[in-house]
């Protein structure tokens, strides 16, 4: 095996990094210099222009113009040469492979927010006010720091399959075998394989729900809890009559945030199945169409549809957040 790693080959990268940092310092210094030179008594417009220029230029080039262009592309043929009207959208809603993608996205959207919120809420309640609360919360929060790709590999290993006669290396199949079952290829059999991918998303996101909901639970006034206890409320009654109504807005925040994240989900599917075996979702299919099959029009149509799905949820979320700030 060849182990002589070529450090010299890495040098251009470090030079590039250095260039990037120098460019960064130069741009910041230039902006501050311009700002100092522009006399304070002059119109504020000049100062604002200097401060806003980099952000506005980048947003125009990187988001605004491309978004308009993508919308146009969604009405054009794959190579972007001819107008095809609504063909790409008709494809999306009628062709079986595209409909499967939409169906999968719906399954994700129906399950992930609910499961994440339920697990997070359950965990937040059971560890609340226990001695090991902060460690317990950290353990569940830890997957949030991991990339979706890393989590995908971790779970692909859990789902790993070996033929019945040999030893299992995947935890799930080992449990199945220990219980007397036969090992399964979990990621190859639709429609259950989508559920096994959803487990990964729930595993990653539950920590987020736990932290948000736990903070909300701690915010419930002590008097309300004491009063309920004095009235002899059982823990289950406490949960449904006192806790849940008091943290309603936090629950909504988690549900909404998870819905947005789920709609845009790409990495887990891409890492674990590549969208094969009927597991593709919109964001993954968009990538495949636009960047692997050269079907820019179809990819653009999927992106626009994603935008249409996400917009009302984000608008709702922003309104919620503004109310929370007030």
């Amino acid at each position: 095996m060849n182990l002589d790693f070529d450090f010299a080959a890495e040098q251009p990268k470090l030079v590039q990094l250095l260039l990037g940092i120098v460019a960064f310092c130069a741009v910041v210094a230039l902006l501050l210099l311009l700002l100092d030179r522009a006399p304070m008594r002059q119109r504020a417009r000049l100062h604002a222009a200097i401060l806003l220029a980099p952000a506005l230029i980048l947003l125009a080039i990187g988001l605004v113009v491309p978004a308009v262009r993508t919308t146009m592309l969604s009405f054009m043929s794959g190579d972007g040469a001819a107008w095809v009207g609504l063909d790409n959208y008709i494809w999306m809603f009628t062709q079986p492979e595209a409909v499967t993608v939409l169906r999968n996205t719906l399954i994700w959207l129906a399950l992930v927010p609910i499961l994440v919120t339920s697990v997070g809420l359950l965990y937040a309640v059971v560890v609340d006010r226990t001695r090991f609360e902060s460690i317990a919360k950290s353990l569940v929060f830890l997957p949030m720091a991991i990339s979706f790709v890393g989590a995908g590999i971790i779970w692909k290993f859990v789902y790993a399959y070996r033929p019945e006669e040999s030893d299992q290396i995947g935890l799930l199949n080992q449990i199945v075998v220990a219980l007397g079952g036969t090992p399964q290829q979990w990621l190859l059999e639709p429609p259950l394989n989508t559920l096994f991918l959803i487990v990964v998303m729930v595993w990653i996101q539950a920590g987020f729900a736990t932290v948000v909901l736990s903070a909300a639970i701690k915010g419930i006034p002590a008097e309300i809890i004491e009063a309920a206890k004095l009235d002899g409320a059982s823990p289950v009654q406490m949960f449904f009559r006192v806790t849940l109504p008091s943290i309603r807005s936090a629950v909504v925040v988690v549900l909404v945030t998870q819905s947005i994240g789920t709609l845009k989900l790409f990495d887990i599917v891409r890492t674990m199945t590549g969208g094969q075996f009927d597991t593709s979702v919109i964001a993954n299919e968009m990538y495949n169409q636009a960047f692997r099959y050269g079907e820019t029009g179809k990819g653009a149509a999927l992106a626009v549809f994603l935008f249409v799905l996400v917009t009302p949820i984000v608008v709702y979320q922003i309104r919620q957040r503004r109310e929370a700030v007030r």
Partner: protein, 318 residues
């Protein structure tokens, strides 16, 4: 608190109190079991991956990681191989690790600075049209980055032409200079959220403070550097950590703008490739995955408070 209330209950009605105590201890026992089950479910997969990455190749491929406890054998060979081997069949992960670092640092610095400048202008420089611009940037949070990918890539590779006239040439970046387009893309995509978060924070600062500095003849540059930056440091840290994790863990932007080779692609892209094509080379996958996971974990454990704040604040990104 709990002791007080339970004694109160007991004196109120002895029988009911006893029943309730039994019930309470039962539910607290169930609660404890639920907590332990969830905590185990949430840590075991990661632990299994980590332990496997330290086991010899033939063992990983033939026996489960839980058999380690019966026959403990540890090795760093997997890490040595996945990081430093130059044969193309192995990971070459050291190259990709360097790429991830080169991609991440400027992709955090640029949006941090540009968002801070813009947020300051929108919060404290009075000019006409300010609200309109703020609402515009704010609204861009809605746009999923999928909407921008195709045109932005063609902007880099073909330049801009309107009705057949080339008004901007293609970037035509080769080799290491392709990092610049990844930085560019990450910076653009980070700005709406960054401006929004920092603006929220800056506009909360007391106006008298800034007014007083202005009366003393301080320029906007001085106010920004001396007054604003130190005050918004926690918000900068939260957004910086969020952006760091976002870029470090990103797959999509890296895949499209950095390509798939050891020249520029980040670790996530390489891992996704390996999971697809070498899906059964578990000795490399486990070690490689752990290398990529350990960096954000260290950041998480050392800066947990800012980290949580950043994550909560940034949960709409994308």
């Amino acid at each position: 608190m709990t002791t007080v209330s339970s004694t109160v209950t007991v004196t109120q009605s002895g029988a009911r109190g006893a029943a309730q105590r039994v019930r309470q201890s039962l539910t607290s026992r169930t609660a404890g079991i639920v907590a332990i089950v969830i905590a185990l479910l949430w840590t075991t997969p990661t632990f299994g991956l980590f332990l496997s990455s330290l086991r010899p190749e033939d063992q990983i491929k033939t026996t489960g990681w839980w058999t380690f406890f019966a026959d403990p054998q540890l090795t760093l060979e997997n890490y040595r191989q996945v990081l430093f081997s130059t044969s193309s069949s192995s990971g070459q992960m050291a190259s990709f690790l360097i790429n991830s670092i080169v991609i991440t640092i400027p992709s955090v610095l640029f949006p941090l600075a540009f968002a801070a400048f813009a947020a300051y202008a929108l919060a404290w420089v009075p000019f006409r049209g300010r609200n309109l611009i703020y609402i515009g940037i704010f609204a861009l949070q809605v746009v999923p980055l999928q909407m921008a990918l195709v045109p932005l890539l063609s902007f880099f590779s073909e330049g801009v032409s309107v009705f057949g006239t080339q008004i901007m040439p293609a970037w035509e970046l080769e080799g290491a200079s392709r990092f610049a387009q990844v930085w560019f893309a990450h910076t653009c995509f980070a700005l709406p959220l960054g401006v929004f978060l920092l603006h929220n924070f800056m506009s909360e600062l007391p106006g008298e403070l800034i007014e007083a500095a202005r009366v003393d003849g301080a320029t906007h540059g001085v106010i920004f550097r001396r007054l604003i930056l130190p005050l918004v440091a926690p918000a900068l840290a939260a957004f910086g950590i969020f952006q760091f994790l976002w870029v470090w863990n990103d797959l999509l932007v890296g895949l499209i703008f950095a390509g798939g080779t050891a020249e520029t692609a980040p670790m996530t892209v390489r891992l996704a490739q390996m999971a697809g094509t070498k899906g059964n080379e578990w000795q490399r996958l486990t070690a490689g995955a752990f290398v990529s996971v350990i960096v954000p974990l260290i950041v998480f454990l050392s800066m947990q408070r800012y980290f949580v704040r950043g994550l909560l604040a940034g949960s709409v990104k994308g």
